[in-house]
Amino acid sequence: MTDNILIIGATSAIAGATARAYAQRGARLFLVGRDAQRLGILADDLRVLGAADVVTFACDLTDFERHPELVAKAREGLGRIDVALIAHGILGDQRAEEADFDKARENLTVNALSPISLLTRLTPVMREQGSGTLAAIASVAGDRGRQSNFVYGAAKGALAIYLQGLRNRLYPDGVHVLTIKPGFVDTPMTRDFPKGPLWVGPEVIARGIVRAVERRRNVVYLPWFWRPIMAIIKAIPEPIFKRLKL
């Protein structure tokens, strides 16, 4: 059986690598991103790698008005949606966002409201199918608020809570919801960070995503070692945590 995969935010490094992993298995793909030319480059690559079919749709994902059209086109292009991966996001600039609410709002709009709007539009489609997986990329940053990135963390945390509730809601319908929490990933988004041994390439995350979808995991940390790391970070008592410079 050919998988039908919808990838939203397809031009991000993690989404691109995931699309390749699916293309190599002969999947049919519907790619959504802002830049039509970039989507075209990805589509050609995925066809060469073995995708059965690739359709692209260019739109600004903060243009909420276009979300119904996006979902309708994806449904039309794929027939049925086996997996919908929501992968778009921005890192933002914590200091600037603290000082300027407009910037914080932009972060929350891209990282939380836009995925939630898309999930809202996708839910009835999946329900009607009675199967499929809704997957979205949250972050380890959403597990606990830290002084260094709590606007991004709040947005990703909100998304994670939403996904948790949605998983609970859709369980009786046979629709699965996967929360993906990557740690440090070496992508253009994190280009200027000094890299240490905890950093991995987007292909590693992509393999983890494909496996997690297959195994119907609920929440995955990628790579796995972030689960114990975050367990420790979450366990630090607040009176101590607030003094730390994490």
Binding site: D44, V48, D192
Partner: protein
């Protein structure tokens, strides 16, 4: 933008440069506050041709998309940062192979073009550049040119073998080789000295697609240049698959000293030579160990310790075999050298490139653990013998050659200069031309 330490494969040079990675092939070059730029693939060249000290590197890691693959005609178009490994994974299961491959599959398509690389089939098929049908060149002024042997042929000739200096190659198209099986039919023959090598190499080249010889760089006297010749061709039947690569060994850290030294070398070479029977031995093997034995060990360059290694690769024109005797004798006398010394006859298929290294004659390539002045002095001597014989050195391997050596060995370098992008340069280019960044 952070200054980053990038090293080349030999790890002798430490250079500082900023990094300005291009993201998408249709977009302009990223802005870059540096005196000059240089495309960077995976840093598999040994010396300083992939470094740009004090300038900027443009890593092509993100330019790794395939564009089109015609599996009937065997024509592949891909972005310059695609590795040969990724290409093999795509094409081998569909019955195609690289037209020419260097000894590592972790080099990029762009790097293979920029260095006009050669392989064990040079005598039959020439350099990589002969199989490039088209490429796009993006210049720092924002202009783009499609170049082929017919269209913008002068730009094509400058860019193939152009050491990354004519601009950024965004994509290229190559013609592939049809294979019936992913396995290789291989034979191994021992030879007692250089003269014996020359006669069996000539005879092997006539009948085999791939030939290469390992040479014991420490043997001397009547055994000077003894070794083992490997000749192979793609098997005519059998599986077509990417063999499951055995779990890669890795050298995880820099060793504080080199494991490659006189004692280990002498022992290895004697055992290796005697490990091969005097009569011809035939076998079938997967293509990975045939073409890429060293790729099985990640970061093998670390075996040479913190100080790194120099690689020496020369070509000695046909008729000057005495010079190869002289080179081997000097290496044997020095006691330096390495396990992996490789001898090959280049054929006379012309390359389209202005600055191509391979030319009809004998080529020798080997590593030297960096022992400072001692090693540099020896390499200087070998360079002098090479130049005396009318030969030259390979920029992709070189870290030391004198400007005169380059300028004599690559007589079209001034013509080439006119095609160099004024905003592109490299540590090697400045070293061999004396130009500033």
């Amino acid at each position: 933008m952070p200054m980053t330490d990038y090293t080349s494969w030999g790890r002798v040079h430490r250079s500082r440069q900023i990094v300005c990675p291009p993201r998408w092939r249709h977009e302009p070059l990223p802005p870059c506050d540096a005196p000059s730029r240089l495309p960077w693939g995976r840093g598999r060249s040994y010396g300083d041709c992939c470094l740009n000290d004090g300038g900027a590197l443009l890593p092509t890691t993100a330019l790794d998309h395939f564009i089109a693959f015609d599996a009937k005609q065997g024509i592949l178009r891909a972005e310059a940062g695609v590795t040969l490994d990724a290409i093999l994974r795509l094409i081998v299961p569909r019955g195609w192979f690289l037209p020419v491959t260097p000894g590592t599959r972790f080099a990029t398509l762009g790097g293979a073009i920029a260095n006009d690389v050669h392989g064990k089939n040079h005598h039959a098929d020439g350099t990589f550049g002969r199989h490039v049908t088209r490429l796009e060149l993006l210049r720092s002024d924002g202009s783009r040119r499609e170049c082929s042997p017919q269209e913008n042929a002068d730009w094509f000739a400058a860019t193939v073998g152009g050491l990354g200096l004519t601009g950024l190659v965004t994509w290229a198209e190559i013609r592939l080789r049809r294979i019936a099986s992913s396995e290789m039919a291989q034979q191994q023959l021992r030879f007692a000295n250089l003269d014996e090598y020359l006669s069996i190499a000539a005879e092997s080249d006539a009948e085999w697609t791939y030939t290469v010889a390992w040479v014991d760089c420490l043997s001397s006297g009547s055994k000077l240049g003894r070794g083992v010749l490997f000749r192979g061709r793609h098997a005519e039947s059998g599986p077509v698959e990417i063999p499951e690569a055995p779990r890669r060994l890795a050298v995880p850290v820099d060793l504080p000293f080199s494991l490659v030294n006189g004692a280990s070398l002498r022992l290895f070479n004697a055992l290796y030579y005697r490990g091969h029977p005097t009569r011809t031995r035939s076998q079938r093997m997967p293509f990975l160990p045939f073409f890429y034995p060293l790729d099985g060990i990640a970061n093998w360059n670390r075996l040479y310790g913190r100080r790194g290694l120099y690689q020496f690769q020369c070509v000695i024109p046909q008729g000057q075999e005495a010079a190869m005797h002289e080179i081997l004798a000097r290496i044997a006398r020095s006691g330096q050298g390495s396990m992996l010394a490789v001898l090959k006859r280049f054929g006379d298929r012309p390359s389209p490139a202005m600055l191509s290294f391979p030319r009809s004659g004998l080529t020798l390539a080997l590593d030297f653990a960096n022992r400072g002045e001692l090693t540099r002095r020896l390499l200087g001597e070998l360079e002098a013998v090479t130049v005396q014989a009318g030969g030259t050195l390979y920029p992709a391997k070189d870290a030391l050659m004198r400007p005169e050596t380059f300028q004599q060995g690559y007589p079209r370098w001034q013509e080439f200069s006119a095609f160099r992008d004024p905003a592109f340069s490299s540590s090697l280019w400045r070293r061999v031309t004396g130009e500033s960044a």
